[in-house]
Symmetry: C2
Subunit: 481 residues, 2 copies
Amino acid sequence: MAKQQLTPKSQDMSKWYTQAIQQAKMADYSPVKGCMIMRPNGYGIWEQIQKQFDPMLKALGIENAYFPLFIPLSFLSREAEHVEGFAPELAIVTHAGGEELEEKLVIRPTSETIMYDMYSKWVQSYRDLPLMLNQWNNVVRWEKRTYFFLRTTEFLWQEAHTAHAHHEEAFKMVLAGAEAYRTIIEDYLAVPVIKGRKSESEKFAGADVTMTLEAMMPDGKALQSCTSHDLGQHFSKKEAFNIAFQDEQSETQYAWQTSFGLSTRTIGAVIMAHGDDDGVVMPPRVAPTQVMVVPAGNSEAVTAAIKKVGGELAQQQLRYKVDTSTEHSLGWNLNQAEIQGIPVIIVLGERDLAQEQATVMIRHSHAKLQLPLLSLAEEITALLENIQAEMFEKALAKRDELLTDVTTYDEFKQVMADKKGFIKAFWCENAACEQHIKDETKASTRCLPVIDELGNVREEQGTCIKCNQPATHRWLFAQSY
Amino acid sequence: MAKQQLTPKSQDMSKWYTQAIQQAKMADYSPVKGCMIMRPNGYGIWEQIQKQFDPMLKALGIENAYFPLFIPLSFLSREAEHVEGFAPELAIVTHAGGEELEEKLVIRPTSETIMYDMYSKWVQSYRDLPLMLNQWNNVVRWEKRTYFFLRTTEFLWQEAHTAHAHHEEAFKMVLAGAEAYRTIIEDYLAVPVIKGRKSESEKFAGADVTMTLEAMMPDGKALQSCTSHDLGQHFSKKEAFNIAFQDEQSETQYAWQTSFGLSTRTIGAVIMAHGDDDGVVMPPRVAPTQVMVVPAGNSEAVTAAIKKVGGELAQQQLRYKVDTSTEHSLGWNLNQAEIQGIPVIIVLGERDLAQEQATVMIRHSHAKLQLPLLSLAEEITALLENIQAEMFEKALAKRDELLTDVTTYDEFKQVMADKKGFIKAFWCENAACEQHIKDETKASTRCLPVIDELGNVREEQGTCIKCNQPATHRWLFAQSY
């Protein structure tokens, strides 16, 4: 098999992205407009995310459940901002079972409304709170053009929805959700993020506060990786879903709610952040395959050694593949491992065996080293953790290069015309200025960064980059995906 | 909280079933006709099934992927039997993103067509085979009336789809899939099943052979728990999805395919098979909560002991809940554990502590015993495995009581009018006889039982129960869910 052509990432990231993903067999276009197919090398990352994140949710006391895919159209209208936000993206079922439906059904774009209708039924007393449920499911928001992982009509996610007796407890959950996301995205996906609050115009349709984690892609555009919402009493109030309960004093109160979600979109961040001109590069902790073991030559001794190494890697709970067939050449195997971004390749040949060592190739750094056969699996385990740390450091350095503090609007425009990236600048928090900046530079507010795990922000004295009126916070701006 | 009314299972199984499920907080009705909500106590069983079954699929070399929820309507028509089988149950999206769609989209009732369209693209050479993918997803087949878990418009399942170069290899996969299902259903859900081949009229729309696992419910009706299909070349042939490949001799061949699925329907089997007049009873291996630890009285010593026991159960990797609040009485706690069918309850009071023991209550047998505190967690682990075995034996004995060999049609009709259950009887394999039997007794052919893991069946000489013509196989008949 000839090496497939791949546009260099440095030359055209967008072309590189779609080619690298297809060559790595992570995803493919589907015959349905706006929808993609996640192949095992892409879906496998999602499986690792689920494996790591699901226990974090359970540790927060959140249990998994499953609610219907279909939502009566009328439900969405019960929270005014919510329906306005989602109406243009809805897919609607009008016929089913051979008949026209009496009430049209929406395919869930998110599950607030169908879940909270039930919360209203299940919550009667303060003893029924907190009610904390999560779903791992698929949602649909109509898109005409597919951009693998980042923009697809259907995507997979988890959506957690909690209801509490007090706002303080609810807000703690908003922060805990955001912090769990930071852990997954930084510590597992090796993508540095900035945690902060969304502006009024950028927050979730139906939230009081939206916390976001913003990542920076190498082309200078930001990617909102996941969000955690303080829903206040927007959905619980009587006119919406009426999630009322009797408190300890038998007074009627309305629940305080949160919702937070993490989607397959994050897989796009992994690919963009770490890939290089040779293709995708997987961070070890979420790589579907962490190690590929391939033979140089095909003697019986080599085949036996490869199987033995495979067994040792299995004992270390590593995710590995071995090639013991004689069908593929070493070059083919190395090429396959490279375009799939497998973090570590172990090559074993007669000469390696004679020297009681293995040749080890590291995908992200293109480094090559020799490791003793005797303790190979243990050394590989440690090496993978090193690679994980190095990949995060590399991504962080790249992100920091793309983070500019600016004090004048001319400077702002210059950065956005030039290298782009994140800009930190004072903004007066007036929506008109935000809109003008966006119209003129394509940069939107990404967030107001928080400075601690309590969600506090830095108070400062400055003037708005756009209108020169007093401003008390430095916001993060960027063009975005 | 007063004990809720529950219709005894022995009196009206159908009423008992829907009441017991709601009281156990396993499921609830949704505002969308035909759809249900799986609450944590119900969905938790699905999580355990996934946790056990997913590694079995991976051990067969099958990888997980994800294909779109939407299928172009025209795709279904490419395999004639397939579209005929599913057309009446389809849900159809006609509008999306604010516009009427050019081609209407079907919500997947199963994914053969959308997957095989891609298989056709991905498979070019014998080197691309076998191609073996699985999805854990949701599917929609329109139903107007909800019967929790057993009959719902939307349900969750896994669907594995494999393509092979040779029929022999494909058929081995059909059998391996069926055997993996037997393991899950018998060894984890503790529900005995009879494995066999479906008749021509009962097989999957588009299959050459369908293997099924049939369980018997205490009311004498059979439940088809899951199926594994030999699709032959129905979908791969040129006129259908054209999954063509060059073999070793560069000749064009068409792939041999299989598909097999296991759904949330099986949760219904668990509930029906094991429940008693006091509510649902969970088999330990799939119980979302295996052990509940509750205090008798609320002294500090008791609370401390309960926490300690909780820690020890955690070390044994058991799924447990403790109640250290003073809110609930012992009676309330015991009642909750009972209606949720938690396999084991540990009660700890001052007297237990003084005697260095715990009082242990077993849900399925209503037995009560004392176990030493010192080795409690280990003893509970062993006890849970005993309970698992006992529950299977009990279900097997019940099933065997409901399995009758009959030799005359009068006898057949008598059994079906009386205790129902499985009937084994000679049938000539003529569809007309099958239909007559069904019309007259409501009993359909469930399967032709296999006698080994190679899928062989017993050849015998007899006469058809209905028409007295020669018959070579004894089939399994039953009324069914």
